[in-house]
Amino acid sequence: MRRVDRRTFLKGVGVVSAAAAASAALPGVALPTNPALLQGDQPGPIWKKTPCRLCGVGCGLLVAVQNGRAVAVKGDPDSPVSKGLACVKGYNSVQALYGPDRLTRAKVRRGGSLVDVPFGEALDLVARTLRETLQKHGKNSVAIYGSDQWTIPDAYIASKLFKGALGTNNVETSTRLYAASAMTGLQSSFGLDGAIGCYEDVDHADIIVLWDVNLAESDPVLFSRMLDRKRINPAVRIIDLSTRTTRTSYASDHTLLHAPHTAPAIANGICYEIVARKWVHREFVDQHVAFKRGRVDIGYGLTEDTLVQDNASDASWNEYVTFLADYEPKRAQELSGLSAASIRWLASLYGDPLRKVMSIWGRDVNQDVRGTWMNNLLYNIHLLVGKVASPGNSPFCTPGQPSGGSAVHDAGTLTHTLPRGVVQNEEDRRRAADLWGVSAETIDPEPTGPAMSTFRRLEQGDVRFLWILATDPMVSLPNLDRYRRAATREDRFIVVSEAYPTPTTDVADVVLPAAMWLEREGIYANAERRVQHFERMVAPPGDATSDAWQMIEIARRLGFEKLFPYEPRLHVEQIWEEYGRFHTEPQTALPPIAALRAQPGVIWPYVDGRETRWRYNPLHDPAAAGNRGAFDFYGHPDHRAWIWLRPHEPPAESPDREYPYWLTTGSVLEHWGAGSMTQRVPILHRALPHAYVEINAEDARALRIRNRETVRLVSRRGSLELEARIDYRSQPPQGVVFVPWFDEARPVNRLTLDASCPLSGQPDTKCAVRLERLPVRSGT
C-alpha cells in the first residue's frame, strides 16, 4: 500500500470536499477541483502560451496562471495549428497537474515497498548503482527508456549522457511503439525523416483519405480543421477507410471498411488501377522517382534483438508493373474485404489530375508487422500521380506524441541515432563527439536494439539497470505480462521518473518525482515539424524536478560535470543553442530560441527567418535546388523519391477456430496514452471511467452477450475481463472487437503479441482473441 502522509491526506480531503460541495450545488456538472476558482477576490490571471501536452497535434493553448496555479485554458487564436480551438483534453489539460496522488517525494524500495527518501539520497543511489552496474556488467548493461513526451532538451540530455558520456547505444523511447514505422517509412522513401508537408495541406486538399485512423477521437482538432475545410468548400470529400465504423465515419462523406492487416493489398490495388488506367504522372515519375526492391524474408521481429537491414536494389518500371499484377482490384478485394469497385473509385480520386489529395494515417498503420512497408506503399500512391510536397497534395502521418516531430527523430534517442545522423556513420560520430567534447571513440558505432529488445535483454539479464522516464511501459508494451515479469526479476534495477504512481512505478526500485509540463521550461515539436516553446509557469510540487535536470544531476554525480555545465535557470536555452549547432544546414536548420519565445510555434527547417512548410519543393524549401525541376528529393543521393515494391503479407497471428476474433486497440477522445494524466482529470475520468470491449451486435447475439455484461477476452498471451459494449462509440464489423488501451486497471496489452516490424522495430497491436461469457456455466 502507498503510504499517505498527514499533509497529503488533509490536502486531498480539502480538495475532495470542495469538489463534493460544488457538485452538490451543481449536480451533473463537473467542476475543476480547484479551490482558488471558487473564490472571488483574486487578482486577474496572467495568460501564457504553450503547446498542448496531450497528443501530437500540438494545439496552441493559453494558460491562465493565478496565485501560482494554472487555473484555466483557452485556445490560442494566434496558433496556426489550432486557430483558437482545443478539444476536451486540451481545455482540461492543466487539471492533470493537480491529481491528489501526485508524486512529490523520491522513493526507494526497501523491504518490498517504496518509502520516501530525500531527493539527493535517491539520486546518489541511482548514480552509485549505475556506476556499479557499468563496472560489473559492461556498458551495455545500462539502458535508458524515455518517450516523445520528453521535451527536446530532455531527449538531447539523455542522448548526450548515455551515448556521449557512458558510450552505450542503449537509448530508446516509446516512440518505437508509436511512430517508428513512420520514421523508417520516410527514411526509405525520401531518405530523410520529418514530415514532407504540414497541416496547411488540409486547407488546400480536395480529397482527404483517412487510412485506419479515427481522427475525430485521436487528433480531434486536426479533424475539425478538415470539417472546417469542408464547410468552406462543400465539394471537399472526406473518406474514412477503416476497420470499424467510428465517430470519424459518421462525420465523413464515405466510409469504406476492410479487414485488419489488409491495407497493403488496398494500397497496391490502388496503384494497380492507377497504372492500368494510365493515370500515372509520367513526367514526374521519370524525373523524380526511382523504383526499388527490398528484402521480403524479414520475419516478424519476435525474437531478433537487432533490426533487419533492408537491401535496396534497383527495379525497373516493367518490374513494378509485373509486381502490381498480383493486386488487380478483384484480387485486392479477396485479400482485404474492401470491394473492387471501392478500390477503383479511390484510385480514380488519387488519379484525377484536377484534385489535390491528402492521405492521413497514424498509429494503426504504423503498429503493424509490415508498418514500414505500409508507409512506403502510401508514398507510392502519391508518387505515382505526382501528388506530393505541394500544398494540398500530401501523404501525412500523425505520430501521436507532443514531440513526435523532433525529439526522437533528431535529438538522438533511438539506439542508432545521434542528435544528427546515425552512430554507424563515422562523420556523424565525429561531429557529435566534437560538439559534445568527448573523444570520437566513446561513441559506439554499433546500435544495440530497439525498445522491445531492451526489455527482452532486461529479461535475459543483459540489461541490469533501466531508467524509465516520461512513459508507462508497464501499460504500453505488448505481451505485457512477460515484460512485467522481466522487470521484477532479481538483480534488475529499475529507476522510474514519473509524476504519478503507475504500474511502471510499481516495478521500480527508485521513483524520482518528475516536474510536469508548465512546471518547467520546455520545447516540443509536433507532427508538422512545428517547434513550440513554453516557459515555466508554476512551481513543481515538493521535490519534483524536470527529467533533463534529473539526468544532469546524475551526470554530475558520475563525474561528467564538464560535459553538463548548464545553469538551472538557463539550461533549456543553453541546451537548445547547443543542439542547434548540430543543425546548421538548410535541410534541418532549427529556429533560435528568441523566435520560439516570440511566436506560437515555428516550423523547421527555418532558414533566414522563414519556415519551410513544404520540403523538397524549390518554391518553399531553400534546401531544394531549382535546377532539378519542380522538385528535388535531396534526401537520397540520386535526388529521387523511391517507390518500393512492397507485397501484402499475412500478419504474425490471424484469427483461427480457437481464437476467432481480431482484436484491435486504439485511442478514445477523453484519454491520452496510457491514461496516467487524463484519468486524473475529473471530467475526463467521469466521461469515460474505464476500458470496455466493443463487439459487433450480430456477434454479440450469436454469443448471447448482452450490452454492459462483463466478458472475458482470451488470447494466447493472457486474458482480461472487460465490460462488453454494443453500438456504444464504434461498431466493429463481424469478427472484430475493439478495446481502448488507456486503462491501467484493464490493460489490453496483456493480450497483444510482441511481434514487430523487423525494419522499424515497432510492435503490432492487432492479434487474435476469443470471447467468453461470464460466469462459465457448468457443462460447457
Binding site: 451533473g28 456538472v29 482545443a86 491529481g99 459518421y250 477456430r657 476467432p660 496483456r750 476469443r770
Partner: protein, 272 residues
C-alpha cells in the same frame, strides 16, 4: 389390403424407422459437433468477400453530424423578429413534467392539425412563424413519425382558433386576464428530480460537459443553435461541426479516479 402388401408396408415402415434413426443420430452428431462452434462463431473475416458496416448507425454518434446551421432555417442575414414570448429555461421547464420529459404543446392546434399530425411543417427546420409571432423550436428527431404520441397539448387548446397576431393579446392564454404566474391548469404540478444546472462559466473557460441524457436529443444544434434556441443554452459557435470534441457526456456511475491496486504482484500479472 393383401398380406404381401402388408408385409411390404411393414418392411417399408421398418426401413423408414431405421433411416429416421440413422438421420437423427447423424443430426445429433452434427449438432453436437456444431455446438462449440456456436459458442465461438466461425471467424467471420476469414474468406469473407466484403466487410460491411452495420445497418443501424449509433444514433448518439451519427446524429451529431446530421444537421448544420446551413440546413436549419437559420439565416444570419434575415430580419430579426421579436418573439412574442422569450424561450427561457423557465418556460422550457414549465412545459416538461420532469427533466427529459417530452414537452407539452403550448399553442393551439386546429382540429385538422391534430388529426394530420402536421407538426413537422414548422418544426423540422424552424424559422419565424407569423401565426404565433415566435421562432419555432426545431425537433431533434424529425424522423419520428407521430409527434402526438408523446407530445400532448392541453385539452382546451385543441380546436381553439389561432391566436391574435398581436402578442399582447395572447398573454391571457396562460397568464389569465389579470397577468401573474401562469395558470395552474396549464402545468402539471408534480414533484420531480432536480433539473440539470447550468455551470457558471468563467469567460473563455472550459466547455461545459453535457448535463442531460442524449436519448432522442442526439443532435445538438437543433436545440442549442438558432433564434428559437433557449437563450441561456444557445451556443456562441454553431459553425463548429463536431460538438462532442469539447463537450462530453459524463457517466453518472463514475466516481473519482483511484488506482485499483498498487502492488508488484498485480503489476506482474500474478494476482487475480
Amino acid at each position: 389390403m393383401s398380406a404381401p402388401d402388408r408385409h411390404a408396408t411393414a418392411l417399408g415402415l421398418r426401413l423408414y424407422l431405421i433411416a429416421s434413426a440413422v438421420t437423427a443420430v447423424v443430426a445429433a452428431a452434427v449438432v453436437a459437433k456444431r455446438a462449440p462452434a456456436a459458442r465461438s462463431p466461425a471467424p467471420a473475416l476469414l474468406g469473407v468477400a466484403s466487410v460491411t458496416p452495420p445497418e443501424e448507425p449509433i444514433r448518439a454518434e451519427a446524429q451529431v453530424f446530421r444537421t448544420s446551421p446551413a440546413m436549419l432555417a437559420i439565416e444570419p442575414t434575415a430580419r430579426r423578429e421579436r418573439s412574442a414570448h422569450p424561450r427561457t429555461l423557465a418556460t422550457v421547464r414549465y412545459l416538461r413534467a420532469y427533466p427529459g420529459a417530452p414537452p407539452r404543446i403550448p399553442h393551439p392546434l386546429t382540429a385538422d392539425e391534430f388529426r394530420t399530425d402536421a407538426c413537422k411543417t414548422c418544426h423540422e427546420r424552424g424559422g419565424f412563424s407569423v401565426r404565433f409571432s415566435a421562432y419555432v423550436p426545431v425537433t431533434p428527431h424529425p424522423e419520428r413519425g407521430i409527434c402526438l404520441q408523446c407530445h400532448v397539448g392541453v385539452d382546451s387548446v385543441i380546436g381553439a382558433p389561432a391566436p391574435d397576431p398581436n402578442p399582447n393579446a395572447r398573454c391571457p392564454m396562460c397568464h389569465g386576464a389579470s397577468g401573474g404566474p401562469p395558470r395552474p391548469d396549464a402545468r402539471v404540478t408534480w414533484p420531480t428530480t432536480v433539473w440539470p444546472q447550468l455551470p457558471k462559466l468563467i469567460a473563455d473557460r472550459d466547455p461545459p460537459p453535457i448535463p442531460h441524457n442524449l436519448q432522442f436529443r442526439e443532435n445538438c444544434l437543433t436545440c442549442h443553435a438558432g433564434q428559437a434556441a433557449v437563450a441561456e443554452i444557445r451556443t456562441t459557435h454553431p459553425e463548429r461541426a463536431n460538438c462532442r470534441q469539447c463537450h462530453v457526456a459524463l457517466d453518472p456511475a463514475a466516481g473519482t479516479f483511484t488506482r485499483p491496486v498498487n502492488d508488484v504482484a498485480i503489476a506482474t500479472g500474478d494476482a487475480p
